[in-house]
Symmetry: C2
Subunit: 628 residues, 2 copies
Amino acid sequence: MSITASAPPAPSGPVSPRHGALRPLGLAEVRITGGLWGGLQELNARAIIDHCLGWMERIGWIANFDRIAGTADGEHAGIEFVDSEVYKLLEAMAWELGRRDDPALAERYDALVARVAAAQDADGYINTSFGHPGQRARYSDLEWGHELYCAGHLLQAAVARLRTGHDDELPAIARRVADHLWEAFGPDGRDAICGHAEIEVALAEFSRATGEPRHLELARLFVERRGHRTLATTLFQGSDYFQDDVPVRDAEVLRGHAVRALYLSAGALDVADETGDDELASAVEAQYRRSIERRSYLTGGVGSHHQNEEFGEDYELPADRAYAETCAAIGSVMVAWRLLLRTGDAGYADQLERTLLNAVLVSPRHDGRAFYYANTLHQRVRTHPNADDELSERAEASMRAPWFEVSCCPTNVARTLASLAGYVATTDGAALQLHQFVTGEVRVQLDAGALAVRVETAYPHDGRVRVTVLEAPDAEVGIALRVPGWADGATFTAAGATAPASPGYATARRVFAPGEQLELVLPLEPRLTAPDPRVDAVRGQLAVERGPLVLALEDVDLPDGVDVEHVELDEAAPVIATADGAEVALRVRTDADLPLAPADGIRARLRPYKDWANRGPSTMRVWIPTVR
Amino acid sequence: MSITASAPPAPSGPVSPRHGALRPLGLAEVRITGGLWGGLQELNARAIIDHCLGWMERIGWIANFDRIAGTADGEHAGIEFVDSEVYKLLEAMAWELGRRDDPALAERYDALVARVAAAQDADGYINTSFGHPGQRARYSDLEWGHELYCAGHLLQAAVARLRTGHDDELPAIARRVADHLWEAFGPDGRDAICGHAEIEVALAEFSRATGEPRHLELARLFVERRGHRTLATTLFQGSDYFQDDVPVRDAEVLRGHAVRALYLSAGALDVADETGDDELASAVEAQYRRSIERRSYLTGGVGSHHQNEEFGEDYELPADRAYAETCAAIGSVMVAWRLLLRTGDAGYADQLERTLLNAVLVSPRHDGRAFYYANTLHQRVRTHPNADDELSERAEASMRAPWFEVSCCPTNVARTLASLAGYVATTDGAALQLHQFVTGEVRVQLDAGALAVRVETAYPHDGRVRVTVLEAPDAEVGIALRVPGWADGATFTAAGATAPASPGYATARRVFAPGEQLELVLPLEPRLTAPDPRVDAVRGQLAVERGPLVLALEDVDLPDGVDVEHVELDEAAPVIATADGAEVALRVRTDADLPLAPADGIRARLRPYKDWANRGPSTMRVWIPTVR
C-alpha cells in the first residue's frame, strides 16, 4: 500500500486521523471551564501532576536519566521500564501547558526535558536500563525489557507537544529516537516486535504529527509482525499474552494482557486509517465490539484476570475478583474514541463515557494523591490504604496507593485528564458534534464558517445541557448533541420547539443566530440494571445506575454493624434519586447474625462507584443480591 | 519441650502419629481388593506409575541424576525442582511394592534408587540443580530453589520404604540427607526456611519412621521459623504467599499458595503431635476448619486463585475460575486425615472423602495417562487435550495433559493412589473404625486380641456396606462404621437388629463370632445442594450430589446444539437416580437462540464430576442456574 506524507496538522488533540467520519477538535478548540470535567482538570493541574513529579524525583526514577548522562551516581532505580512513567508525565505536562499558561509548570517541564535529552545516545537510542556500561545490551530482552514500549511513550509525549503548538526540544529528541528505530527495526533492520504494544500507536501518531511517512511505515511493520509467535513464551505467559498468537487482522476477540491488547488495537486502527486498510480497521472494530459485549464490566472496566492482567473468557467477569486495571480502561477509551471518529456511531461515545466516568475516574482519590491500579466491583473486607509516603509493592484491587513499583496508572491518569478536552467534540465539516457534556466553550471552523458555542451543564448530576450560540456562519450548519443509549425519554429543544430525542444524536440544522439556545434534557432517574444471564458471577443480583454513573453500596452508608454482605436489594420498593446517587430499600438477610430482627428493612444511599473508598476503608458492592 | 526417641514403628501407612484419638492402620492391615478404590489402585499399578516413569526418562529428568554422577552429559533438564517428581514416583513405587509383590517393579525401583544414590554428595547433600560445577551455590535461592522441598520428598519416599518393611538403600540415602540438613539448618546451622513448605512434614514423618529425635527437632525449627518475613518477596508474591507473614501458631486461616499452606499444616500437625504442642495443633485445626468452611469448593477443592495458585478471600469461589489444584486437594486430604486421627471427628473423614472422590479423582483420565492440574467447576468452551506425547507448558483448568513443565500433580496422584489403603481404617485399641467404604479385608490387633473383617460394597454406586467378621477375640470389641453427614436415613444392622444410624459412627460392641455380619445402608438418592449465600459466584444456582459424589452436567449429555449455557435447572421437577448419577429436568433459556421452542424442556443425565471430559472435549457445569 502507498504511504504519502501529510502536511503537519493544526494543533489538535490526542488523536488526529486522516480519514474517518469525524474530525476531533483539539485543546485549542474546546475549553472546559467547569463542572465534573473541569474539576478533574483542576485536580490534575493542582495535585496529580505534582504528585507524580514528586514521587519520581524522590525515588530516583528521574535521576536514572542523570545517571546515564553521567551527572549522578548510583544504581538504576526501579524496574526496567520506569522511563515510560517520566514520558507519560511529560505528555501530561505538555497537554496541561496546551490548556493554560503556567510559567512555573513550563519551567519544570523544560528542566525535565533537558534531563531526558542529556541521556540520549548519539544515535538516538534512549533508555536508562539497557545499552550502557554494566547494563544488558540494547534489545536483548524484547519480551520483557519494554525498550520499544518506553520509546513509544516518549514519542507520544512529543506528539502532545507538537499538537499543542511547540516544535521544540522533546519533538527533536523524538525525531532522533524514531530515526534510530527506523534503522534498528525498519525494512533493513531487525524483524522483531516489543513484548508490550505501544510503539505502534506512538509511531502512527508521531507520523501524523510530523508528516514523516517512515514513522507510519514502521508502525505498520510492527502491527503486521505481531501474531506470528516470534516472542518467547514462559511457563506462565503464552503467545496470547503478547497478542502474538494470531495476526491482528485475523483475530476475533481481544485476549491476553488487556493493556497490551488495547494499545495494540489503537495502533492498528491508526495504521489502518492512515493506510486506508479497511480490512484491518474492521477486524479491530469487530474484536472490540465482541470484547465489550462479552468481556467488559458494567463500569466499562476490562481484563478480569489478576493472573497476567489478562482478559478472561467470554462472560468470565467476577465482581469480587475484577482486575479491571485503570490503564486498561484508559486503553479502552483510546480505542472507543478512534472507533467513534471512524464510524460516527454514538455507541462508541457511550462506551467511552461509561468507561471514563466509572472505570477510569474511580482510580484517583479525591485529593489526587492515591490511585487504584486494579478496580474491583466488590470489596468484602475493609483494608487500609498505604501511608502517603509508602511505596506499594503490588497492585491490589482493595486499596488506593500513592505510588507503585509498577506505577503505570497514576501517570496514565494524569495524561488522560490533561487531554480531556480532546475527547469532547468533533466536526464533519457541516456540523459540530458534542459527544460529551461539559461546561465550557467550543469554537470550530466549519465549511460554512466559524461556529462558537457555550455549553452549560451540571451533568452528570443534572440532566439539563444548554448550548448557547456565540458565533455562527451566515449559512445553515448543524449542532448535534449525543443522546446516550440509556436516556429513555430525553427531549431536545431547538428554535423554541421541544421534541423527544431518541438515542444517537439530536441535531439542529439551521442558520443560527448569536444568543440562540439549544437544550437537551436527559432523564437521570436511577435505574435497576440486570446482568447478562451468561455472566454467572452476578446472577441473582442487580446494579443501580443513574445516567452514565454506576452506583455502589458502601458499608459506611449502612447502620452500624450492618455490612454490605448482610443485605439484599428489595427490587419491589421504589428507587429514589438523591443528590449524588439513589436511595434503595434493602432486606436484612435472615441468615445474617445481626442484632436487628430479620424483618427489619433498611433504606440506604448508593453513591457513584467512582467515589467509593473516599470516606475511609469500606466494604462495597456494585451488584446487590436479590435472591439467595 | 522435650523430645525423646520412639521405637521404630511396625509397618504402617502414610501417617503414623504418636498420640491422637485413633491409630491409623497400614497397608499390611488393610487390603483393598476391588470396587472403586481397588480399581484406582489397579489403574495406578497398571498405567500411572509407568506413565510417570516413562515421561521422566524420556525428557531427561531422571538423567539429571546421571549427569551429577558423571555418567551422562548434557544440561540439566526441566526446572529446578524436578528431582521432587522422581522422589514422589519413588514414594509411589514403594507403597505399591508394599501393597503387592511385583519383581519387575521391584527391579525398576532398585535401579532408579541406584541412579539417585549415585548423585548424592559425600556430605549427604543431593540436588541436581544446585551446588555442582556450573550451577548456582547450594541454598543460594531459598525462596524459589526448592532444595529443601526436594529433600523433603526424598525423605517421604524413604518413609514409604520404611513403613513397608524395608530399611535399605533409599532410607540410607535419606538418613545422610537428614544428617546434612541437621548440620546445615539445625540449631548450629543457618536460621532459614524453604520457600515451599514440605521439609517440615517430611522430617517429622522421617523421625517417626527412624526414631531419630534430631529430625523431629529440625522439623519443629522449620515450623517455628516460618512467619517472620525472612523470605524475600517479589512484585507478585508477598510474605503471605509463603505463609511467612504470620507464625503458624498465630494464623487464623489458610492463605497464600494453597499447596504450600496445606503441606505446612500437615507438618505443623505432625510436629505438634510428636511434641505434645496442643496449642499449635489447635491453631492449625482452627485454620483448616475456617478455610474449609469459607475457602473450599463443593468438590473439596481449595485455592481458588490462578494468580499465585493461592487461596482466595473468604467466599471468593468462582466456579468458572476455580484453580483448585490437584496437589492442593491432596494436601487437604493429608491434613483432614491427620485431624481425624487427632480428634476422631467423623467430619474430617467426610471432608477427606469429599476431597478425594471429587477434587483428586477428577485429575487422572480414565486411562491414567493424562491429568488435570487445575480443576475448574465450570467449562464454557470445548478445548482439545494435549497430544499424548505433548509436554504442556502451563497448568490449564480446561484440559487434562499427559505431562507438564511443572508436573507435580501426576506423581502426587500416583503416591496417593498407591497408599490409599492407609486412609481407610483406624483403631483406638478397643474398636476398629472403618472411615471409608472399600471392598477388602482389614486385620487389626486390638487390646483384646486380633480382629479380622471382610468388607463388601459397591459404594459409592450402591449404599450397602456389608462387614463379615472373619476372626474376633473372645471378648467384647467394637466395630464402627462412619455415617456421612449427608446420609439422612441411614440404617445399621448388627446382631440381626436394624436401627437408624445418624451421622458420625454406627458402632457395634460385642463379642463377635466369625461369620457374623454387620450392614450399613446409606441412602444414595440424588440431592439438590444450594450454595452458601455468601458465595456470590454461584448465587441462583444449584448443584446435584449423590452420596459422596458431586455430579456435573456435560454438553455431550444434551441434545445436539444445546449447550450447558442454554439451560436452567427445573428445581420443581423430580430428580431421578441413575446408575452413575442422576437425571434432572432442564428448561431451555428463553434468550438462548436455539431451534427448540423456549417452552421445550429437556431431561438430561448428570454424571460424577470426577469422570467429566472422559468422552472427548465438552462444556460442563457443576452449578446449574435456576434463575436469570
